[in-house]
C-alpha cells in the first residue's frame, strides 16, 4: 500500500494543488452566491430558480465545473490532513492514515462523479 501511494504521489499532489486553487478561488464565491446572497434575497428573483440552475449544472461544462468544485477540495483536504497528522508526530501511523484518507477521497470522488452524471 505504501509503495502504491509513493508511486501515485505526483497524481495526488496535482489533485491537491488543483483542489487548493479551486477551494480558495471558486468555492468561496459559490458558497457566497448560494449560501448567503441567494437566501438574503440579493440575487434578482428567478435568476437562480431551480430550472435555470439545473440547466446550468446539467450542461456538460457545468457538470465538469461542479465535479471540480466538489471533488478537488476533497483531495486537498485529504492530503493536508495526512501531512497535518505527520506534523503532529504521526509518522508511525501514516501507514494507516494515508490509505484511509486517500481511499475516503476516492470514494467521495466516485460518489461525486455518479451524482454529477445523473444530473
Amino acid at each position: 500500500m505504501k509503495a502504491l501511494i509513493e508511486r501515485i504521489e505526483p497524481l495526488i499532489w496535482v489533485l491537491f494543488g488543483a483542489g487548493f486553487m479551486v477551494g480558495s478561488l471558486l468555492l468561496p464565491a459559490w458558497v457566497f452566491t448560494f449560501g448567503i446572497a441567494q437566501p438574503l434575497g440579493w440575487v434578482p428573483d428567478g435568476a437562480l430558480a431551480f430550472e435555470r440552475a439545473h440547466a446550468l449544472a446539467a450542461n456538460p461544462l457545468g457538470k465538469l465545473l461542479l465535479l471540480a468544485l466538489i471533488a478537488l477540495p476533497i483531495w486537498n483536504a485529504a492530503n493536508h490532513l495526512r501531512h497535518f497528522s505527520i506534523d503532529l508526530g504521526g509518522y508511525e501511523r501514516d501507514g494507516a492514515v494515508a490509505p484511509l484518507l486517500y481511499a475516503g477521497a476516492l470514494v467521495l470522488s466516485v460518489v461525486a462523479i455518479v451524482a454529477v452524471i445523473g444530473l
Binding site: 505504501k2 497524481l11 496535482v14 505527520i86 506534523d87 509518522y91
Partner: protein
Amino acid sequence: MSEVTKKTVVVTRFDPDQDEVPKTQSYEIPVQSDWKVLDALNYIKDEVDPTLSHRWSCRMAVCGSCGMMVNGEPKLTCKDALSNYGNTIEVEPLANFPVVRDLVVELDGFMERFKKVKPWIIRAKELAVEEGATRQSPQELADFKQWSMCINCMLCYSACPVVGNDPHFLGPAAIALGHRYNMDSRDEGSAERNEVMLEEGGVFACSYANECSEVCPKDVDPAAAVQQGKALSLLDWAKGLVLPRGSE
C-alpha cells in the same frame, strides 16, 4: 562608542559526561547596543565562563556555523542583533539535532543527507579538453543560482516539522541543493538524482509548512525548490504515461 546595558542570557548547558538531561544557566552580562547574539556568547566564553561550548567561525553570515535557537526560533547568531530582544534572551542548541555539548549539535546525519542527492555535476560523457568549455548563458545561470547560495547553516532543518518527525526526510537544504544541480544546464544526472529525491523521504514528504524559507538567512527559499521538484516530477510522471519506457 556604543551604549552599554545589562542583559540576561539564559543558555542551555549539557555535559554528556555528567548530565542526564540539559539544564539552563543564566548569565547577566554588560552588552553593547550594536552586539549580535554571538557577541554575547563570546563575551560569556571569554570573560565569565570558559566551560561554555558553542560553534562559530566567520562572524559574517557566510560559514553557517553559529546557528542556534534564540528565544525558540532558529537564528544565525552572528546576524541576529541583541537589540531585537528584551532584557532576557534564551539561547538553545538547534532543534531536531542531537546535542554534543551545550550549544553544539551533531552534524553527521545532516551531512549524510547531502551526499544522497549527489550534489555535483553528473555528465553522461565528460567533454575532452580540446572540445572547449561547457558554455552557460546568464539566463541558464539564473535558473539555479539562488539554490546555490545555501551556507549549510541547518536553520531550515531546525524549523521544519517534517525533519522532526520523519527520519527518512532529506530535508529542505539537501533538496534545494539537489534541485540546484537538476536545474543546471550542464548537468545530465537528474534521473539518477531523482531516484533519491522522489522516493520515500523525498520532495513529497514535505508538508508545506514553508518554515524553511521563513528562517533561511540567505533567502535561498528551499520551499520553492521542494515545490518545483514536485512539479518537475509530475511532468516526468506524465511523460512516463504517454511515452514508451526508456525514451526521452
